[in-house]
Amino acid sequence: MGSHRCSRPPLLALCSALGSAWLSSPSPCQAATDSDGPSCIQAGGCAVADLKTATSPAFLLIGSSPTLVERPTTPHDVAVTVYNAAKDSGGLPHDFALELAPYWLFQHPQLTYASYTKASIFWQLLYNATLSVATTSGTDMTSAAAFTDLGVGLRTQFFLSLATPPQEHDVQAAEEALAKLQQQTAVSARLADVDADVARLGCDQDSTTGGCADLLAQRARLKQLAVANAQQKSVSDEQLARGARALHDANVSRNGLTVSLAGALSGRTAAGEKLAWHEPTKEAAWMNAGYQAPSFAMLAVGRYIHVARAGSIGFADAGVRLDRVGSRFGVSAEYVHRWVVNQPAGGGLAATSRLTGTVEVAMGDSVFLSATLGQDVATESRPSGAITLLGLSFQASRDRKLQLPLP
């Protein structure tokens, strides 16, 4: 969608400098034409969806799409994973990807459900932090020298609940339903133990045996509870799992504001070096704020990205997207502005804006028609780049396709 331009000689030089490691978008030079203004594509796509906080920022920054990501869950696992990777490569591991949640590397036996689910922003940022580390190896096109790029990134988020009373009620109802299933399971388990003790001591034949009076009274009470709790005789593991999923669904259906933050750095190590931090070096930061209600969503995004290689270039983006979804139609509008914060040698890159609107209509149970209209504008040169896109999509599922994007 949109016009792809990579026009001026400085830009071509930039494209060359960035090479294949420029984010994960297609090479900015692939669609070069000779128009004046830089388009969104030169710093990666500039739809709001392209600017969302990266799930694994380190992978994104070095353009790595690893098929295998190590996810150690204990400090010991981390040590073993890193040691093995370094040992196999004799230094900085090649084409390695690791992702971990630092807080959850350790046990937290005193962290209760209530504390976790009602955590303050500070604690949510800690709970949700993930660290990503990745390397990717390649060969420099100009010098033919082999290298390994190393990226390190951190991501986290917090959620401010703005749940309506019915949504809060749904969460409470899901908690009570799961608690009831657990209590029924606990009563059944305890009752089985008591029955075994009663049989072992022969309490049914002689209730005066030591401890029998207590055991029989306890059994009677447990049977009362079992009857009071029971919707069915026994609770299966699958019923408990379903109860847990229902609780999760009730929680994520709440209206609220999700704010996510991420940052990443990368540097290059030449072949033969153990570990270095040479150019091109890159830094990036992301911030999203999304509000979600059942049929309406708003997402604001911000991103800064900087690359240094014999000079430097940096872009800052800000964008907002609004979505309204009905049962048969969806309407969305988005606006993104890109500033050139650091001009490359020779300068001349202009800021750009993009405004688009999309309408999607369900034509039947599985046929959807969408139309997108918009415009790219290079603010320091001539306006250019009308965007028009018509689409028809088919889907096999009978579920409603029109849905809000996740913040």
Binding site: T73, A101, Y103, W104, Q107, H108, P109, Q110, L111, T112, Y113, A114, S115, Y116, T117, Y127, N128, E175, E176, L178, A179, Q182, Q183, T185, A186, V187, A189, R190, D193, V194, A213, D214, A217, Q218, R221, L222, L225, D237, L240, A241, G243, A244, R245, L247, H248
Partner: protein, 114 residues
């Protein structure tokens, strides 16, 4: 469902014996406690006085906690038992990491009050 057992004894004194059961790692759990003919059931964490030490001596406290992994960040689960009011306080944590999201664990503790 995986069953994790823990057994110990606890020397009571003259005063009130208090039992606290904490379900950790942000997971959702429910606890059933029995002592003699007494039965208590409690969603989430359990914290109450079981009785006077002299009345409880010789009885067994049975604690059954069903913990379901509802925390998407970790598959770790843990239950901490804390007894006080006896000669010395007792605290012990039992932990288990479930294989799959939403799995449940049956923690069973048996504490003989001496």
């Amino acid at each position: 469902m995986k069953k994790i057992s823990y057994a110990t004894s606890y020397k009571v004194g003259q005063g009130d014996v208090r039992l606290e059961v904490v379900i950790g790692d942000g997971q959702f759990g429910s606890t059933l406690v029995t002592v003699g003919s007494q039965v208590w059931e409690q969603a989430h964490d359990f914290d109450r006085v079981l009785g006077k030490g002299v009345a409880l001596a010789g009885k067994t406290v049975s604690v059954t906690s069903i913990v379901t992994d509802t925390n998407a960040q970790t598959n770790q689960t843990a239950v901490t038992y804390r007894l006080s009011g006896g000669v010395v306080p007792l605290e012990h944590t039992v932990a288990f990491t479930v294989g799959d999201e939403n799995d449940s664990v049956d923690y069973e503790a048996s504490i003989v009050l001496a």
